[in-house]
Subunit: 346 residues, 3 copies
């Protein structure tokens, strides 16, 4: 499919500078632009690429004024990043959707599937599973008995969802995700341990995205909750009875220990670790690789291991940098005091 600058500007309600007949059939990054593609410029770090790019069309912010001549046709929009996201999503939406039920899949006899559902080869749909409209289940997925999947949810190849877990509407679950494996619960008995059965489940609410190979354990009793709009990156560990609040976003390889509650609209960098049984407020930002062992109030920004409020963490880091100077100063003082003592004793 090919579009003109005019068509794209009309769609994005933007203003053309240059040739309205410039044509593109793909999207590219501005630094990798080739003729026939459309790019965008939002980050000021990338401005110099605008004057070199081979892209045929570039989206720019209304507020931006080029300082040199530009070869590409420009389309000025309110927000170049958001407009680009719209175009990316259009390209994605144009892909042929998967449909139909592969005969090489196992559907338990008690399951009734809407005709809008896709089930890929070698997937296993256990007894009493409920699946909503327009759900896409790629090959090699496992849904244990009594699992519920809401409407318009996509489950990528090989994801595994243990019995009794509940997934909402409009969720995206990537390959290798494991939802509902047993929480890590053992009671000491002498030198060894006895397993404590984990009879709860996991509840994933609407509009949640779960990245590849992330694991979310079932509750001992009750539920582990992933609330509406949560976005989890890859290789994250969510332990039993954790609750992650609405619209909280976590980068890859974070680990949340058992029974911890994370509030709404938090942002975690990668490789963050949270101890068990703590409460993280709403709108909390946690820097990458931080380790958090205590409750954190709403609105805090923390980092470090153990994590400190941003201000304290900076002060500590600054102090540590000043240590060599401080030592030198102390040694000078030591020398001066020695001299003073000598003088006094004279």
């Amino acid at each position: 499919m090919e579009f003109t600058a005019q068509q794209i500007a009309d769609f994005l309600q933007g203003e053309i500078i240059g040739n309205p007949d410039a044509k593109v059939n793909n999207l590219s990054k501005i630094e990798e632009g080739v003729p026939g593609t459309l790019s965008f410029l939002a980050n000021s770090k990338y401005i110099h690429y605008l004057y070199e790019t081979k892209s045929s069309i570039v989206l720019i912010n209304k507020s931006f004024e080029p300082e040199h001549p530009v070869q590409a046709t420009l389309i000025r929009v309110n927000d170049a990043y958001t407009s680009m996201a719209m175009l990316l999503n259009m390209v994605e939406a144009a892909r042929q959707p998967k449909s139909g039920i592969d005969p090489n899949s196992f559907i338990a006899s008690s399951v009734s599937l809407p005709s809008s559902v896709y089930i890929g080869a070698y997937s296993y749909i256990g007894e009493n599973v409920e699946i909503g409209e327009n759900v896409k289940i790629y090959p090699q997925v496992y849904l244990g008995e009594n699992v519920k999947i809401g409407n318009d949810t996509t489950i990528y190849p090989g994801a595994k969802i243990y019995r009794d877990c509940v997934i909402g509407n409009n969720c995206t679950i990537h390959s290798g995700v494991v939802i509902g494996a047993d929480g890590f619960g053992f009671a000491p008995m002498g030198d060894s341990y006895v397993k404590i059965a984990q009879i709860g489940n996991v509840v994933v609410e609407d509009y949640v995205e779960i990245g590849a190979n992330t694991t979310i354990d079932r509750a001992t009793m009750g539920s582990t909750y992933i609330r509406k709009g949560v976005k989890l990156d890859n290789l994250i560990q969510v332990a039993h009875n954790v609750e992650i609040g609405n619209n909280t976003v976590m980068a890859a390889q974070c680990g949340i220990a058992g029974s911890t509650k994370v509030g709404d609209n938090c942002m975690f960098g990668g490789q963050v670790g949270l101890a068990g049984h703590i409460n993280i407020g709403n709108h909390v930002n946690i820097g990458a690789q931080s380790g958090v062992t205590k409750d954190i109030d709403n609105g805090q920004t923390i980092f470090g291991s153990p994590a400190q409020p941003k201000k304290e963490a900076f002060r500590t880091a600054g102090m540590i940098k000043r240590l060599p100077n401080m030592l030198k100063l102390v040694e000078e003082l030591q020398q001066e005091v020695k001299l003073l003592k000598q003088k006094l004793e004279e």
Copy 2:
């Protein structure tokens, strides 16, 4: 199934306070209790929930005396946590066990299966695999040739066990676990690397639990050992030729580099990293996110990155906290010494 307080008290050898005919058909956490469920109280942090809970029955420790009236029927037992674990395990045991061999599974011709075994759909059982009594192999599992699985072991959907690996009795292996992938061994050759074949295996002894998406690499030669009673949480990395001693417990996302030996009855917090070729003694506790690069003696408690004994780590942390004050003190001293000098020179 419904049980009375009397039936439960008899089973747990407990003493009833309240209505022996109170009936329950499920278990719940005390803070989420609803009528018809049984909860427990063990952690003193949760005592206030006892006076509010809607649970019909609550297990309490013999040593505990309520200070306010309680609506629920109480059952006093020696150890409420252990009693609850028993009930959880009973609920779990009451679930209909999986059985039979799914016709949509691949069983190599050289394999003979006990009639007590369950093999789920789309699982692959390679040549010369040996499987014990009452083994449950869920769908989409892979067992490479010559793999041995002991009695009463459960392997959840999609776990992959490479050829020649050995799993003991009464083990639980969760979805996404990979046992026996190649150790990370490469010999430099000029600027690039040549792979060193990994011809050993992994030996997992009895009563081991391995969490979702954990990876345990095969040995270069010989075996990587996971000893009896070890409990590994999710997303843990165990490199080639590692040995993890009896009853050692590791929380999620730990990583153990090649040829390291961990002793018996150790406890690791989450996200701990161990360097290769080191020895960790028995009964060693390692705090979350620690990095360990040296041998550790029996019975040590260490944390930090690099890890230090608890006492030193606390001292260091305390010192760092005192840095701003120390700097202030040094500056004051500097001022005073200057004044003293002036006075002396007068």
Copy 3:
């Protein structure tokens, strides 16, 4: 198969000390040697095992002179480690290669497969997939539409490769690897987030090894690149639009955030985290558990979180160790200054 010391010495161009008719049929570690096996000695830490080992043959370096009598037959070679690697690879190569296309696999109608290819049971090969000569695809693998796999590449059970991704020649991809899942891209919209479609792909060049359960996300636009000869251990996260340069080696559980570029011939310890949008030069070494937030020049060795050049990191660590002494010194000075003041005031 059994070989004599003479046969092995001839093959390795080594020199025999002892019995040229000594026979072995397997390889072992020197500390676990049993009769009928061959071991090697390269690391001086292990020399004492040479005098105790039960191995029938031991490879030693030409430069090494035993100081005590040795029971085993020795073969002196230029480099015992490399020679052992050659023997390991010979043992591996002697294994019966997998071949044929399992009838219980799904091959899309548009795919044509070379006769040299192995496709295992329950694998899914999507439309327009291209597969080279001698490729081995184990059971339960997923290759989305338009995936390309070069010659002589092996993909272990259960690996998942999303549509449009490209894998080179002579690659090894272990179980549970996910290549091409969506990059973690969301645009804020009020309090919640809108997904940004990820329409790029992943390009893995030749001679790359990817460890179990590692995840490599597709680019937003363009490609995420894993260059020739890269070796990634298990459970590593590579985010969208990352580029990892030729022959770079990363230990387990590293995480590389979006759009970061890593140079050639770097070595990363385990659990390293890299921020997004940074550049790491060539021949950079990064210590385990480091956190890197800034560009790093060629040839640097860094560690710590935040990472520092080796020299500075050591100085900082040394300073922190000296803190208790520094504090003591400051307190002594405080006391002395007090005394001096008293004296002056007298």
